[in-house]
Symmetry: C2
Amino acid sequence: MYELLYNNIIKKVDLTREEFEEVKPFYTPKKLKRKQFLLQEGDVCKYTAFVCDGCLRSYTVDADGNEHILQFAIANWFISDMNSFLTGEPATQFIDAIADSTLLLCNRIDSDIMMKKVPKMETYFRILGQHHIVAAQKRLSSTIMHTAEQKYLDFIKRYADISQHVPQHMIASYLGISPETLSRVRKQFSEKQ
Amino acid sequence: MYELLYNNIIKKVDLTREEFEEVKPFYTPKKLKRKQFLLQEGDVCKYTAFVCDGCLRSYTVDADGNEHILQFAIANWFISDMNSFLTGEPATQFIDAIADSTLLLCNRIDSDIMMKKVPKMETYFRILGQHHIVAAQKRLSSTIMHTAEQKYLDFIKRYADISQHVPQHMIASYLGISPETLSRVRKQFSEKQ
DNA sequence: CGCGGGTTTGATGATGCTCAAGCCCGGTGG
DNA sequence: CCACCGGGCTTGAGCATCATCAAACCCGCG
């Protein structure tokens, strides 16, 4: 499972095996069963999780009890409540497993120590952050300027892999539309083709 | 004007004066008059701009010719089409000045060299990226789960400083609502209080 | 004084939400 | 092996929000 993380890192920076051996100890494995929580609103988000297998989601719950999914994470993705992780404030998000999952966890302090010890990891996270921003911007554009149908088509195109693992009503939540609307959108689209 | 950048950096990392002297040469000043472009769709985004004074915006234009504002940048903010800047692909965004502005520009190559030379700058940009992600997530939440009124109130609360500098129809565009709706929202709200 | 960009106001219509009911299918227990 | 249950998806009807189109208004500026 560490192998997956290593392969991910060397796509962005040329980390040697020896350097990676220094990184490893900072990541502790963890298994999560479907529906188990990694983080609940109000708790402090102590860890950033790298997903080796399975699928997680982060979401908020509004005053009316509706869930709003912020992120899905399948293999090779990181997930956390970044604000809580960085500041130590209580989390505003929930994170739970949609399917049985295996993770690698790293806490805030270790993360800083690790980057000091292996500067290439800081480069890695800097690049990762930049890519994250690009993705966030694309999602925002799509959310602001598209109709329900376009948003859905955008999603399954951009995240074909994720749309397999995730029930439909969660995709609706991610897109900010109601499950009924998504159902209708899918029907209309299939009738067109 | 470099002073402003320095003050910004030392809020995140403890960069010495000497180190900052090494950073300076990588940033070239530039002035932009109101309505001038820093970047047009289709061009490659060569620079990341740090805003010393004034106000810029980045936006996309959809098939119907409607503008969708992605970001405002006032003093102390960075702005660029991150995707184009990183990949060298043609930009999908426009960036122009809402008011006369002064900027500090740094291109991609120099940016990499600078971080090599002064590793603390890499830390700085890593931290900056993380904060950017937090902000993007908050905006996304707000966009997905709130009504037009709540989104507007969110905006003027979070970005009181920006809402001063920017005409109302641009705020509407940023929020993904029509200028007419924003006008009505404001009216209703002022009648309530 | 008149022009023009930006904002406001009104009328109308579309998109998508809510509520409610029915359906499909896989899992469980008799 | 079959009946039953329940979660998720679908379908329908009515409704709220917000977009669009159009006109009027306001105000700074040439």
